[in-house]
């Protein structure tokens, strides 16, 4: 098997430069590439365009890179509660492009798949469609959207093998598989790295061909954004 293992997060992030466009997996704080984000902060690469569904919280996730003003453009579907993000956006320091979540996912998928453009009904008739080609198919209007063009993709999986094959867990899967192979270099960090041949070939979510570098993250905080529980007697469905 072709080996994709790198020693650590430092090697994994080699080549990330100022001004680059990055794809980052995760939904909220769930399934985000924690170790890569920490390393990007240490590297202090700047003027980044970050494409990710959300922008983290003030002191975790992409919020860490916002704190140090390393992001100049953020492309997301929902930016949530993040005071520093709001400040930078309102002051004009941060360029923000909000796009529909399904379009975000499909633009990743298109980049992975060599599909340069596709039509989607999402956003037709709204400001999202402004300046874009619209076209009717089957009596319904659609908007032409393009594949992303990114330099690095940072994803986080549950298990991975040395050949780069990945398995995700629960809803930490989200955008991660779609971003694999959607940039020039895809870096996967995993909670557990196993030898190639260990994973069931039938149960792998993303084949190693989409991954250039893989490493086992040194530590995962896996912070919960909205802890919600129920009591024993409350039977919410």
């Amino acid at each position: 098997m072709i080996q994709k293992t790198v020693a650590d997060v430092h090697q994994a992030c080699h080549g990330v430069e100022d001004g680059m466009t990055l794809l980052l997996g995760g939904f909220g704080l769930c399934g985000i590439p924690e170790n890569a984000i920490a390393e990007l902060k240490r590297l202090n690469v700047r003027d980044l365009t970050c494409i990710s569904n959300n922008a983290g919280v003030d002191d975790f996730g992409l919020g860490l890179l916002l704190q140090s003003r390393q992001i100049s453009t953020m492309i997301a579907s929902y930016v949530g509660e993040n005071a520093e993000f709001e400040r930078q956006m309102l002051s004009g320091e941060l360029n923000v492009s909000l796009i529909p979540q399904g379009t975000l996912a499909q633009r990743c998928q298109a980049a992975q798949s060599g599909i340069p453009a596709f039509y989607t009904p999402a956003g037709y008739g709204t400001e999202v469609a402004q300046g874009k080609e619209v076209r009717e198919f089957n009596g319904k209007m659609h908007v032409l959207e393009h594949a992303f063009d990114a330099d690095f993709s940072f994803v986080k999986a549950w298990k991975g093998d040395t050949a780069g094959n990945l398995i995700f867990k629960g809803t930490a899967r989200n955008f991660n598989p779609n971003m694999c192979g959607a940039a020039t270099i895809t870096v996967a960090e995993v909670e557990e790295l196993v030898p190639a041949g260990t994973l069931d070939p039938n149960a792998i979510h993303i084949p190693g061909i989409f991954i250039q570098r893989i490493f086992q993250g040194a530590h995962y905080e896996k912070r919960i954004e909205q802890l919600t529980t129920r009591t024993k007697d409350h039977g919410a469905r």
Binding site: F27, V79, M89, G102, P121, T126, E225, K232
Partner: protein, 218 residues
């Protein structure tokens, strides 16, 4: 006078039929799950990648890798399945999800909906709402009939930036159940104790009333 948010959710739950896959938006829609009849089979989809979403976990059982689209910790029912975001929106865009329930700031009598942006205010983003409203065959809006300033949210035309065009078919508010068709609001039911006149007064867009309007049964 008028329904509280739990009662709005309770009324909307009556629209959820056996065999439906349902996507619930944040806020009142989330509450709908609590009121769906227990004798029918319904599955809740959350667009971050789960079908067969269960209730919140018991304290201590929460899993950082198991959340809903509102980023809340949840559980998975037996028979649930996890998937990636592209597949999630294949379900939505491909019209495999049967019913979408979401909140709104404004709905127009032509079915336009605005629920994501107020110019001059901090914008959080549309999340999956634009995909949902552009694709779903059945969309129910859950909202109060008027805003905090008392102005109608059922308008001749939306004033806020749109989320989708001509897509809303039904609205359940604290005052009424309204159907949207032929470029008008049609009053179908009124909340217990709320008069037709009150609903008319709270509706800015064209409201069609045909015959006596029954009270909701909750």
């Amino acid at each position: 006078m008028g329904l509280d948010k739990y009662q709005i959710a309770q009324r909307i739950a009556q629209e959820v039929k056996d065999g439906y896959y349902v996507n619930l938006g944040i806020g009142i829609p989330t509450l709908v799950a609590n009121f769906v009849r227990q004798d029918i089979d319904v599955e809740f989809q959350s667009e971050n990648g789960i079908l067969g979403m269960g209730p919140f976990p018991f304290e201590g059982d929460e899993d950082a890798d198991l959340i809903n689209a509102g980023k809340q910790t949840i559980t998975a029912l037996p028979g649930a399945v996890f998937f990636d975001s592209a597949m999630s929106f294949s379900m939505i865009r491909g019209r495999h999800v049967d019913l979408t329930i979401l909140g709104a700031m404004e709905v127009a009598q032509n079915g336009d909906i605005a629920n994501w942006k107020i110019p001059g205010k901090m914008v959080k983003g549309m999340g999956g709402a634009m995909d949902l409203v552009a694709s779903a065959e059945r969309i129910i809006v859950a909202m109060t009939h008027t805003n905090k300033a008392g102005a109608s949210k059922l308008l001749e035309a939306c004033t806020l930036p749109l989320t989708g065009v001509g897509c809303v078919k039904k609205i359940v508010t604290d005052l009424a159940v309204i159907e949207v068709r032929n470029n008008a609001f049609h009053l179908v039911e009124r909340a217990p104790g709320v008069s037709v006149a009150e609903i008319e007064a709270a509706t800015e867009g064209q409201l069609i009333i045909t015959g006596p309007v029954p009270e909701m049964i909750l």
